[in-house]
């Protein structure tokens, strides 16, 4: 008689698609083979986790069609079964998996679409806090301004890709998908929590570099310097907009 731990490790193996030989002798036949009984649990594991991935990555699923997605998901969950018990946290590694998945090599942008959807999904789970008004800046002595750290909303993240991922995502929200010109270039996007989930906006390169640097914890002077490559970047206007968009939640010294 196996111990409970031995039995559970064997059943885990069967659910993940491994050998069932050691386990079969432990199961009552009751008019149906042990293998067929184990298959019910195995199928449930595959079907429910594939459905969870489909709901987190609807655009990836649409781009490759449901059947191919189910195949890719099957390979993914066999190699990377869930570790967390929170299903909404399953799929963090799908983008990396797809970037190395041979059958997807003709869709070089697919992994970035997955990365985009994962980031939107994550933004929707983080609550925003009360923003500061721009008047808060008045309390900062001018000589300290360059070293000022500006804390942004906790839900905010910055996404960059060499492909027009936002255009691909938008096109796939419609019933009829319009063609997207893949040669139209990359994108730089800001994502954050919104009332009913998430929102995102495309940012000009300077604003994007500035905000991303702030989000990474760099001081105001350094963040402004990273944006300087964009001739359209204007620091005063960028600060105005940062506060106007309710993004600033804290000011601190280095």
């Amino acid at each position: 008689m196996p111990s409970l731990l031995e039995l559970q490790l064997q059943l885990r193996g069967a659910v993940l698609g491994g050998a069932t030989r050691g386990l079969v002798g432990e199961i009552e036949r009751d008019g149906l083979s042990a293998e067929a009984r184990l298959r019910i649990y195995r199928n449930h594991f595959v079907a429910t986790l594939t459905a969870a991935l489909e709901s987190t990555f609807p655009v990836v699923c649409r781009l490759v069609d449901g059947r191919f997605f189910a195949y890719a998901a099957h390979e993914y969950l066999r190699q990377h079964p869930p570790q967390s018990r929170c299903l909404a946290e399953y799929g963090a590694g799908l983008a990396d998996f797809l970037s190395g998945f041979e059958p997807c090599k003709d869709l070089p942008y697919l992994a970035d679409v997955a990365r985009f959807e994962w980031a939107l999904n994550t933004a929707a789970t983080v609550r925003e806090t009360s923003p500061l008004e721009i008047e808060a800046l008045a309390a900062i002595p001018p000589e300290r301004a360059a070293l000022l750290k500006i804390a942004l909303q906790p839900s905010v993240s910055y996404f960059a890709s060499g492909w027009p991922i936002d255009a691909i995502w938008l096109a796939n929200q419609q019933k009829e998908v319009r063609p997207v010109d893949l040669a139209s270039g990359g994108t730089t996007v800001e994502m954050r929590r919104a009332e009913e989930g998430f929102s995102w906006q495309r940012l000009a390169p300077g604003i994007f570099a500035f905000r991303r640097a702030l989000a990474e914890g760099l001081a105001l002077g350094t963040a402004a310097a990273t944006a300087a490559a964009d001739p359209a970047f204007d620091l005063a206007a960028a600060l105005d907009r940062l506060f106007a968009e309710r993004l600033v939640v804290g000011l601190g010294a280095c």
């Binding site: 731990l5 885990r12 009751d30 184990l38 079964p81 869930p82 929170c86 909404a88 789970t125 983080v126």
Partner: protein, 241 residues
């Protein structure tokens, strides 16, 4: 905790309706330590929602660092009874409240099981002080899959600790004489009959229609809830008469 819009909706609903929190991932039957991170998250949710009832399953779903997203069957042995009761006790202590433990639907039985399922549940309730959530659909499914009498199963549960009843739909497997729990259709007529038998035995305890796949129009779900309420009302009138 994931601060999603869905959580906001739940907290709003909580203002007008009592809520029953039904866990599926504590994995109380695992032959390893309880997942304290998950237990902590469950506790945070309970503090936020202040539910009327909290329940989990006679099952396991995680082992060796993998979460298998299913309510997997336990062998009913003295060893698993000890493990299960210890985990129920630990969870109740951490959460500071009584749990209800639900009877599972199952598709396989282990040869070395020595304790009948109802006895396993009864003994768990006796040792830990937990209550029992009687899933009538699960009884019907397992009774079909293992050819036992579902009413005899009901009769061997201790009536005084039944704190909630579940009803749901199921479907027949394509290639075998097996019923599969899917929470994806109307409650089947024989399950309604068994519900009537459960009301007779346990009285009108809070009842939930579980429907979480293949979601219907709201009217259909409300109709199912209405039917459950009607049967409970009929039971009450019968008691008065």
């Amino acid at each position: 905790m994931a601060e999603t819009a869905a959580l906001d909706r739940l907290v709003e609903l909580r203002r007008d309706y009592p809520v029953s929190v039904h866990g599926v991932a504590l994995s109380l039957g695992s032959a390893e330590q309880l997942d304290r991170v998950h237990l902590g998250r469950l506790m945070a949710l309970i503090e936020r929602v202040e539910p009327m009832l909290v329940s989990e399953h006679l099952a396991w779903s995680a082992i060796g660092g993998n979460y298998l997203n299913d309510l997997l069957p336990l062998p009913y042995t003295e060893e698993s009874l000890d493990v299960f009761c210890q985990h129920v006790g630990e969870a109740q202590e951490t959460l500071g409240r009584r749990l209800l433990i639900e009877n599972p639907s199952s598709y396989l039985r282990f040869r070395h099981s020595t304790i009948p399922e109802t006895e396993f549940l009864t003994e768990t309730a006796r040792r830990t002080g937990c209550g029992i959530l009687c899933d009538v659909n699960n009884i019907y499914i397992s009774a079909n899959n293992f050819r036992f009498d579902p009413v005899a199963y009901l009769d061997s549960l201790p009536a005084d600790v039944i704190g909630e009843i579940h009803l749901a739909g199921h479907h027949a497997a394509e290639d075998a004489d097996i019923l599969i729990d899917d929470h994806g259709s109307r409650v089947a007529p024989p399950v309604w009959e068994l519900y009537t038998a459960a009301l007779k035995r346990f009285g009108p305890v809070p009842t939930l229609i579980e429907w979480d796949t293949n979601l219907p129009a709201l009217d259909v779900l409300l109709d199912e809830a209405r039917h459950a309420q009607e049967l409970a009302n009929i039971h009450r009138y019968a008691q008065l008469a």
